[in-house]
Subunit: 141 residues, 2 copies
DNA sequence: AATATATAGTTGACTTTATCAACTATATGC
DNA sequence: GCATATAGTTGATAAAGTCAACTATATATT
């Protein structure tokens, strides 16, 4: 294994660790919101006023479409999210937050950004560098 | 929400995105090894010659001990891992890799390093910075 | 236009992941 | 010795995840 591979390996291992460590912090907020880590993430991905097709969600989560059906079922039954048929393509259903969902999402974000988050260990500089690197990685625009 | 919170939020969102994107690459290898993402991670955490108490595993994964029982059951039934009573404390069971498990782990690491292509988008400098920042995040060392 | 093919989402059967409460066995503190 | 804490298992249960089969729309080809 060459040097670059080692870095890649290491980064992956650290990400996994981060993910699970982060998960450990969620229950503290989760007790309040009663959301699983994945539900948090889904809520996070649906930005207010920016409806998200279910297929895109499956894509982002790298999971089967039928799994998304279940995830959305549970969120919808709690009144956080709603499905709407797309006017452009009637096969597509887009997800949008209900007012309750948007409120919960906002509270959730505040919590996550708050001191329960290990991210606060980083300096502002580091946080910005991290964001830049991750943006390059995820190839967002 | 202030500026620092926004950065933290953004970083978190990107980390989660990256994590799931990365996870999407696993099944490709998983098809070969038939390991779930979590099983991969557990195998990753048990370093050869460095037996791991089950309680520490539960700790690292931030999950209930009974969950670890199941995870280890499945890995053990496939001959990748074995439980051994600790000589110091007879309540404790330490996990160690079987030769098969060690071999699989090595192949897995090679695969993951090869497949985590997005990392190759980064310069070597950026890769190292990322590793450093992630280390600070998970508070290793 | 008619037919073929591809895509979005759901359903049903099934496995894995995860939690909680209750239990066994061992350690540790007084 | 007795109380209390800790490590791990078991059983019940729910959520997360996959796959194959299905419905309904879209799009592409002839």
């Amino acid at each position: 294994m060459n040097r670059a591979d080692q870095d890649a390996c290491r980064a992956w291992q650290l990400l996994m660790k981060f993910f699970f460590a982060q998960r450990g912090h969620l229950p503290a907020s989760g007790a309040e919101f009663d959301l699983s880590p994945i539900q948090c993430h889904v809520l996070h991905l649906i930005e207010p006023g920016r409806p998200l097709p279910m297929s895109r969600l499956a894509d982002t989560l790298s999971c089967d479409a039928s799994n998304v059906t279940g995830l959305v079922d549970r969120l919808e039954s709690r009144g956080l999210v709603r499905r709407r048929p797309s006017p452009r393509d009637r096969r597509v259903k887009v997800l949008h937050l209900t007012p309750t969902g948007a409120r919960l999402r906002a509270r959730l974000l505040r919590q996550m950004a708050g001191r329960s988050l290990p991210l606060s260990r980083l300096s502002l500089d580091q946080q910005r560098t991290l964001v830049k690197i991750l943006e390059a990685l995820v190839d967002e625009k």
